[in-house]
């Protein structure tokens, strides 16, 4: 069974056709990069998969289950997690509070009103171990607003990982990062549990080729090419659109 299946997906905004009849099948555990010039429809695709936007036509299925009409929070329950191009964190809460919210999100504990959250050892220790793994434990009392941009990006990925997703969408996770920070994020992605399906939008070709087993190229809302990194590298149509644009 595919982990994520997209059939005939289209999205238009008034007169603008952002996505045109796109179909993709992604296998469990696959690491796939979605690349393409600006305006190709990559983020729109993610918003459709995530549920932030509704498609004009087409279907989306997660592990065989149709999710086209489900709101984002229900897709999270089915194992979907994502990050955003523009950082979407709880800026005025501490790092630990951000992590606790992510960890408790799909636990029945979240409905409790009468006991402190900090009393739930399993939640706290899970949050702690995730933060320790990625060196954010010392900064746990810092407001996210005061973290460096690179740390914020890492935290956002961590929050998505904390949901224990089966499908993870990363929208330009290395955008605006220094080369060192970029490599840290690449390491993070490479160390993810191999059973998690990872879909990655990237502008940085090196990152895309490092992380992905399969690359999908979008152009003007359509699928242009699809295949393993070496094949894409040699594909002349792909080179054309990139050379033409850059």
């Amino acid at each position: 069974m595919t982990s994520l299946s997209i059939e005939g997906l289209s999205k238009n905004f008034g007169g603008l056709q952002a996505l045109h009849d796109l179909s993709l099948e992604i296998q469990p555990g696959e690491r796939r990069a979605i690349i393409g010039p600006n305006g190709a429809g990559k983020t729109t695709l993610f918003h459709l998969i995530g549920g932030q936007l509704s498609p004009s036509s087409g279907r989306i299925s997660l592990f065989g289950r149709e999710v086209t009409k489900l709101p984002p929070f229900r897709r999270a329950a089915l194992g979907l997690a994502r990050t955003f191009q523009i950082i979407t964190l709880f800026l005025d809460l501490t790092v630990m509070e951000n992590m606790l919210l992510a960890v408790q999100a799909l636990d029945s504990v979240r409905f409790v009103l009468y006991r402190p959250l900090t009393g739930y050892r399993n939640i706290v220790s899970q949050a702690r171990s995730l933060l320790e793994q990625w060196n954010l434990w010392e900064k746990r009392r810092t407001l996210v607003r005061h973290l460096s941009y690179g740390e914020q990006r890492q935290l956002e990925i961590l929050l998505a990982v904390a949901q224990m997703p089966r499908v993870l969408l990363l929208d330009e996770p290395t955008a605006g990062l220094s080369p060192v920070e970029t490599q840290q994020v690449v390491a993070m992605i490479q160390h993810l549990d191999p059973s998690i399906t990872v879909l990655l939008i990237e502008h940085d070709m090196d990152v895309a080729f490092q992380v992905a087993q399969q690359i999908t190229v979008l152009h003007n809302g359509r699928l242009l090419a699809d295949g393993p990194p070496e094949a894409i590298r040699k594909d002349s149509t792909v080179a054309e659109i990139y050379l033409g644009v850059e």
Partner: protein
């Protein structure tokens, strides 16, 4: 702060207050009651990020229900007060359903309009509510089972209100630190992120509205018992505005802030009303001043200087 130290402090407070002149006991009583009202409002505004401009609706609805039941239908205090609380919850349930269809400024507008409708009903339905004249003559309850002394003397009533105030503060303290409380904070910060994480945001907001409405209802009932009288003023925009000011002056999103704000506003109102009739004008000017100069309120300003002092702890 140790629980025993806190309890001792409260007992000392209750004793000291008995020694004050009746006028001051009354002011403190009113301040505590409105403090409860303001803390309920802050649950919505400061903790969940829902700016309700019509919070007096639940306050007055509970007060009127209790008054009507005990005066016109001769019900016992238990029945009237419970019914008052239930009605404030029902109004919160209905108003929550309607207002949560919207967000942001639209939400503000609708909460205001909904509360004004209730005010209009109280004003116009003379046969039931006494209209502009209100309903006088509401006696304080005799709840010997709970509280063996008469509630007529101001000092005794103050003590009863203090006990309820402490219970409400304790309940909110627990709520704000619970998983549900964290969720509300998350919603305040970023609904989009909460939805992505898997939270049913609407439902949490709705429960917050119900709780806040219930707390306001408790305050409303206490208020009417305190004055022995209910009028459309208990449903008015002025009261909602005063509540909002208490939250802002005291610092929204903190626990005690709104209660401190209530003490300030109640004392200020009484002080100024002793010299002039122009309280509304002063209230308006204070509003302008606060927004222009101190948007984070008193407690917010303290917090900025002593991070963590009035804050909720993050973790173990």
């Amino acid at each position: 702060m140790s629980g025993i130290g806190l309890a001792l402090g409260l007992i000392v407070l209750a004793i000291i207050v008995r020694l004050l002149p009746t006028y001051y006991i009354g002011l403190l009583t009113e301040a505590l009651i409105l403090g409860i009202f303001a803390m309920g409002l802050d649950l919505l505004l400061g903790h969940t990020g829902l700016p309700s401009l019509g919070h007096s609706a639940y306050f007055g609805a509970a007060g009127y229900t209790m008054a009507i039941l005990s005066l016109r239908l001769q019900q016992s205090s238990w029945v009237s007060a419970s019914a008052g609380l239930v009605v404030s919850l029902i109004i919160a349930a209905i108003y929550g359903l309607l207002a949560l269809r919207t967000s942001g400024v639209y939400f503000m507008m609708i909460t205001l309009a909904l509360a004004q409708v209730l005010w209009g009903i109280a004003f116009g339905w003379r046969s039931m509510t006494g209209g502009d004249d209100g309903l006088p003559g509401i006696a304080r309850p005799e709840l010997r089972a709970l509280f063996p002394w008469s509630l007529q003397p101001p000092a005794n009533f103050f003590t009863a209100v203090l006990i309820i105030f402490v219970i409400v503060v304790a309940a909110l303290y627990v709520l704000v630190r619970s998983p549900f409380g964290y969720t509300l904070h998350g919603i305040r910060e970023s609904e989009a992120r909460m939805a992505c994480l898997g939270y049913h945001v609407w439902w949490h907001k709705y429960v917050a509205v119900l709780i806040a409405g219930g707390v306001a209802g408790i305050a409303g009932i206490l208020f009417v018992y305190y004055h022995g009288f209910v009028s459309p003023a208990e449903l008015s925009l002025v009261l909602s505005a005063e509540g909002l000011l208490m939250v802002i002056l005291g610092g929204s999103g903190t626990l005690f802030g709104p209660a401190l704000g209530a003490i300030v506003v109640v004392f200020l109102r009484n002080l100024i009303s002793a010299y002039t009739e122009r309280w509304l004008l002063i209230l308006g000017l204070i509003y302008l001043l606060v927004v222009l100069c101190a948007p984070n309120g008193i407690v917010g300003a303290i917090r900025a200087r002593l991070p963590g002092w009035l804050d909720r702890e993050a973790e173990a």
